[in-house]
Symmetry: C2
Subunit: 106 residues, 2 copies
DNA sequence: TATATTTGCAATCAATTGGTTTCGTAATTA
DNA sequence: TAATTACGAAACCAATTGATTGCAAATATA
């Protein structure tokens, strides 16, 4: 079973959960009210997000408060950064080619 | 069939394809050489990425060069930015609360 | 103590996914 | 023209996904 941040944010409901919890911790019931999905469906998403270590549980009596581990989100940022650098480098190479063409025409 | 950038980057092979194409355009066969998967499997990923408009095809004789539409990647960045702002705002609110507590104790 | 509330967990199901194999077609090359 | 190459598309399959239903455990309330 693959369980990484990218698979976690692939689902729109899970992305919404992340945004909601970015504002503040919430219980499953409170979260479920924001969606059309059932409480169990939301709970399943919470389980997946917890397994990815994007969420942490905090038991308070019979309630469980889910809150964000914002650090995990950096994995996405890291990959994006890697992509951006590779893409930028491509232009560098293009620049080199253009420079070479330029000096050839001289 | 859901077809968005988030679902596209959920698969590790597709993420690798994106990174490879960030450096420069490639044909399906050239791409497939970088993976253990078959040419057809890679081709299927290419179709998905093209349907998401992350990739564009450019026919050259019997070869098809796939290259990146880097703009689409901004969708991920936008969502990340939205998340970061919500998360930052949370700290702002916390700051406000702390400020209020501070003035109460005066 | 009896009842209600909050929650996780297992079983089940239809839909989707990622992969393979096979086929057809268009562009090269011999 | 015949063989080869590069590719997409369709059919198929096992594994995974997202959702539902039913249940049990723990805590709170009457």
């Amino acid at each position: 079973m693959r369980r990484d941040v990218f698979q976690a944010i692939a689902d729109p409901t899970r992305r919404a959960i992340i945004l909601l919890l970015a504002v503040g911790a919430m219980t499953p019931n409170a979260l479920a009210e924001h969606f059309n999905s059932s409480r169990q469906a939301v709970s399943k998403h919470l389980r997946i997000l917890t397994e990815c270590e994007i969420l942490k549980q905090e038991q308070q009596g019979r309630e469980i408060h889910y809150h964000l581990n914002a650090d995990k989100m950096k994995d996405i940022e890291k990959w994006l950064e890697q992509f951006k650098q590779l893409f930028a480098k491509r232009f560098d190479q293009l620049d080199t080619v253009l420079e070479q063409l330029k000096s050839k025409n001289k």
